[in-house]
């Protein structure tokens, strides 16, 4: 990847003096490290960053970043971030959120930020549990999960972050795993470069309340066979021996083995993250075990006009037509009369 790293910053420049208070072994430590490393490699002045969050373990992250930061209230990070970005489009606004914060209490703001295509970067830590309140099920918890508020197992269907995001007209969706610093850094950079709402789902492990929930595709023994890393322009091939691939058959995705049933590498789909039609991206983002591997990397990235850019353009259009610039001019516009 061509990066214009002028070595202005090192990762430590983005570390604040606050003591990090996540549990030992929590996936959040790795997410923080990957973000600090990524930001140091981007050529953007530190004072331009604003890290915004809601409430939850993930939302403590802004305190640990030595940038401008805003620790908001539960669920409202997307709305706060929207206000910041509209107020000053020069700022690089990153929202740190979790599955409860973004998809339960903050679901409305989440979908509307995405619908509007506000130029903010949303990092959604998905551990499928409420950690800070000590272990209740979340909107992404697997059906049947036993927690303190579902002692007999949940009876709710979970959201898949990618499906919800693309369904809300999301233009950018990527998925990474907390401990995978290299992949995480890669998708954060893609998100940073993208103009528009960029959602990065980080599959994150809560070591205390939902330990190992993602093991089926994140553990050392499972990850090669059960995940596929998608990169634009590359074939959708995966597996330890890179012998499996994904094809489209009867309007459905299908996992095939290269070399079997006459399948060759040529038959395997090539990932096009820039395809505007969301159909294939929706299916890729929704892939889950046991039928499919879990897709990682940038699944969708289509560039359209951002809300903040459209607003600036509208302002310019109105200003070209209207003569009103000051309050004095405004007060004297329209029907007035003189009393002499």
């Amino acid at each position: 990847m061509a990066e214009t790293n002028n070595n202005k910053y090192a990762a430590k420049d983005f570390k604040s003096d606050q003591e990090v208070r996540w549990c030992p072994g929590c996936g959040d430590h790795a997410i923080l490290a990957a973000l600090q490393k990524t930001l140091a490699e981007l050529d953007i002045p530190k004072e331009k960053y604003v890290f915004v969050s809601g409430i939850g373990c993930s939302s403590r992250l802004p305190y640990y970043m030595n940038t401008y930061g805003f620790h908001g209230i539960h669920g409202r990070a997307a709305a706060i971030a929207t206000g910041i970005k509209i107020a000053n489009p020069d700022l690089m606004v990153w929202e740190m959120t979790g599955d409860g914060d973004a998809l339960a209490i903050g679901g409305n703001h989440y979908i509307h930020a995405i619908r509007r295509n506000i130029d903010i970067k949303i990092v959604l830590f998905n551990n499928e549990i409420y950690g800070l309140t000590k272990g209740q099920y979340s909107p992404t918890s697997k059906k049947g999960l036993i927690t303190k508020t579902s002692p007999y197992g949940t009876i709710e269907e979970p959201f898949k972050v990618g499906e919800l995001t693309i369904g809300a007209n999301g233009r950018f969706f990527a998925r990474t795993v907390d401990y995978n610093l290299q992949l995480s850094s890669e998708v954060y950079k893609e998100a940073a470069k993208f103009h528009g709402t960029a959602v990065v789902e980080v599959v994150q492990n809560c070591v205390i309340f939902n330990d190992g929930t993602h093991d089926a595709f994140t553990s050392k023994e499972n990850r090669d066979e059960n995940t596929i890393i998608l990169r634009h322009g590359e074939k959708m091939i995966f597996g330890k021996n890179r012998d499996k691939g994904i094809i489209l058959k009867d309007l459905k995705l299908k996992v095939v083995k290269i070399g079997e049933d006459g399948i060759t590498e040529k038959d395997i789909l090539t990932h096009d993250a820039h395809e505007p039609n969301p159909g294939i991206h929706y299916r890729l983002a929704g892939m889950s075990l046991p039928e499919y591997p879990v897709a990682l990397g940038v699944i969708r990235a289509i560039s359209t006009k951002t809300y903040d850019a459209a607003m600036m353009e509208q302002h310019e259009r109105v200003q070209a037509k209207s003569k009103i610039r000051t309050v004095d001019e405004l007060l004297r516009s329209g029907a007035t009369w003189e009393v002499k």
Partner: protein, 617 residues
């Protein structure tokens, strides 16, 4: 126009336009008001309409009214009782009968007084006999027939023809007041510019109404209300929502800040968002948020990023915003929240006025949550208090709640346009980079105000948030720190009092009775008290605009009177607030919760009762 046979000269006249909610009465009333204001009358208006856009036709519940009070002296209220009622149907009579003066003129569309519509309005057969209105000056105008006749040569569908009926009524009223049609004709041309046929029809009917007045001259007197002796200057007509929006804009300009508004549509506050959404020419960024919470949260974000931020709402919306309001309290960011109060609780009476959000504004949040509360008094002084509220928010780094209400929001009056150079200056407490480390909660020792460090500024990177903080901006759970911060936030808001003007007294500083009000009851209370003073009672009035903190001289003012009477449109919220803040006084109450403003008469009657009729000496 020919010479008139009977002309009644009056100081002031109250006219009420009333019909079905689809009859165009709000527009008719507005056009008449603007024409009167342009002529030089002082005016005050009161739109009174149902929440439903098209409530069931012909029913009392569906009646939409617009009252305007015009005069050649100072007009403070839209008037208690009407001199002239324009009634488009029997329901309009029924809905307004209690507001008619003796000897009122009632102009009604006699075509609409069919057996069916009469019964629909709840009458048996004859509305005028049943409501004992026979002695009134009744003018039966077959408006529907006359409108059809006037437009018979035009190629129009029946629906369009009938929709011009309001212009006939307006034309007739213009004749009654010998008014000029020019303003309305121009308005019609502009409104229907793209439909010249419709414009022509409306103007034709307007004139038909006017000429009808000449035809029936023998039946009705006409009125003359002379110009009001108004101070020299440039004037315009303005309603409360528009004035509020412009006041906030003026504050932003004065402070050198750009404005942001994040709001969700809600009656009767929507006009503020609509007004500011127009002002992209002045760089206002407006966002129609996905909900009330997003309205305030986007505003808080914009404030953090360095804009003057405002969110407008009404009672139910303020309830939804309360958690985020506390985020602004905790982060100590400038934010203006405008609550245009309406009848509550819950959805309540969305289109009616009430002052019952006072406690919500003062106390409706978790934790110790000091927020300055300010209330505007008249449609046009919403400009001043919009400005003042924003100034306090910026200079004191705090959320501020500005209370207006449906009565102010929709009511309009002529306004002498100020020059912004005469407005007070606003100093923004920006943080600047220095050798010392920037501490987010370091305060000005005098005002306790922290500095505003704008993202994008190198060297001032810092974090704020809803968790309790130390002076440095670090999260802290230390018990003593929390208590210190709670008390400091409280003290910061209390010290705003040093910059507030004193409470003014209308009348003598001592006497038998002080009538106390706050916000929009100003016009009715001061009118009532002025009349009582003329009648020889030792009564004065004091209307509060600054509610938290209360003006410094409050107790001193109260001490000058034997009795205190607090009048408000709720069950006693301000009276009880005063009982907490100034405990040594006894507060009598006069309250009304009908979704309507006070009348001057009822305030006067109550004062006289309280004084047991005792006059001076």
């Amino acid at each position: 126009m020919g010479k008139r046979s009977k002309v009644i000269e009056k100081d002031a006249v109250v006219i009420r336009f009333s019909g079905d909610s689809g009859d165009g009465m709000q527009l008719t009333g507005t056009l008449f008001s603007n024409t009167s204001a342009l002529f030089g009358h002082d005016i005050s208006t009161f739109p009174d309409y149902p929440a439903e856009i098209r409530a069931p036709q012909g029913t009392v519940g569906g009646v939409s009214g617009f009252q305007v009070h015009i005069g050649h002296k100072l007009i403070n209220t839209p008037g208690d009782f009407t001199d002239i009622l324009v009634a488009m149907n029997p329901a309009a009579i029924r809905a307004n009968v209690r507001w008619l003066k003796k000897g009122s003129t009632i102009i009604y569309d006699s075509d609409n007084f069919t057996e069916k519509s009469i019964q629909r309005a709840g009458y048996k057969a004859d509305p005028f006999a049943e409501d004992k209105l026979d002695s009134m000056n009744l003018i039966a105008a077959p408006i529907t027939t006359l409108v059809k006749e006037a437009l018979k040569d035009m190629d129009l569908d029946p629906k369009t023809v009938l929709r011009t009926k309001n212009m006939f009524a307006l034309g007739l009223i213009y004749w009654l007041f010998d008014s000029r049609l020019k303003y309305t004709e121009e308005f019609i041309e502009e409104k229907f510019g793209k439909k010249p046929l419709v414009a022509e029809a409306n103007n034709k009917v307007l004139r038909a109404g006017y000429y009808y007045g000449e035809t029936i001259e023998a039946l009705t007197p006409s009125y003359r209300v002379n110009r009001a002796p108004i101070k020299k200057g440039t004037y315009r007509n303005i309603n409360g929502n528009q004035a509020t929006a412009w006041g906030v804009l003026a504050a932003a300009e004065k402070a050198g800040l750009k404005l942001f508004i994040g709001s969700y549509p809600i009656t009767p506050a929507t006009g503020i968002l609509e007004e500011l959404a127009l002002r992209k020419d002045m760089g206002v960024k407006s966002l129609q948020a996905e909900d009330e919470i997003a309205g305030i949260c986007t505003s808080i974000g914009a404030s953090f990023a360095g804009r003057m931020a405002v969110t407008s709402t009404s009672g139910p919306g303020l309830a939804l915003k309360s958690e985020a309001l506390n985020l602004a309290v905790m982060t100590e960011l400038p934010l203006l929240v405008i609550d245009v109060q309406r009848g509550g609780p819950s959805t309540g009476l969305p289109t009616k006025t009430e002052q019952a959000d006072l406690w919500q504004a003062l106390y409706g949040r978790n934790g110790e949550s000091p927020i300055p509360v300010i209330a505007a008094s008249t449609p046009s002084d919403c400009f001043r208090f919009g400005f003042e509220a924003a100034k306090i928010a910026i200079e004191h780094m705090t959320p501020v709640i500005l209370l207006t209400d449906g009565y102010l929001a929709n009511g309009s009056e002529p306004w002498r346009i100020p020059s912004t150079k005469d407005l007070p200056s606003i100093t923004v407490p920006y943080a600047v980079r220095s050798d010392k480390e920037f501490l987010a909660y370091e305060r000005d020792p005098k005002t306790l105000v922290r500095k505003w460090a704008i993202p994008g500024t190198p060297g001032l990177e810092h974090r704020v948030g809803g968790l309790e903080k130390t002076i440095k901006g670090s999260v802290s759970y230390i018990p003593e720190n929390h208590e210190y911060m709670v008390k400091t936030r409280e003290e910061k808001v209390e010290r705003i009092v040093n910059e507030l003007p004193n409470l003014e007294v209308l009348g003598k500083k001592t006497g038998d009775l002080l009538v106390i009000g706050w916000g929009s009851t100003y016009g009715h209370i001061t009118s009532a008290v002025t009349e009582l003073q003329k009648e020889g009672y030792a009564v004065s009035a004091a209307i509060f605009n600054y509610i938290r903190p209360l003006p410094k001289n409050t107790a001193k003012v109260f001490a000058g009177f034997d009795k205190l009477l607090v009048c408000e449109l709720n069950t006693g919220q301000f009276a009880n607030y005063l009982r907490i803040k100034h405990q040594k006084y006894t507060y009598n109450q006069y309250n009304k919760v009908q979704g309507l403003p006070f009348t001057i008469t009822e305030i006067k009657d109550h004062c006289v009762k309280l004084l047991k009729g005792k006059k001076n000496g």
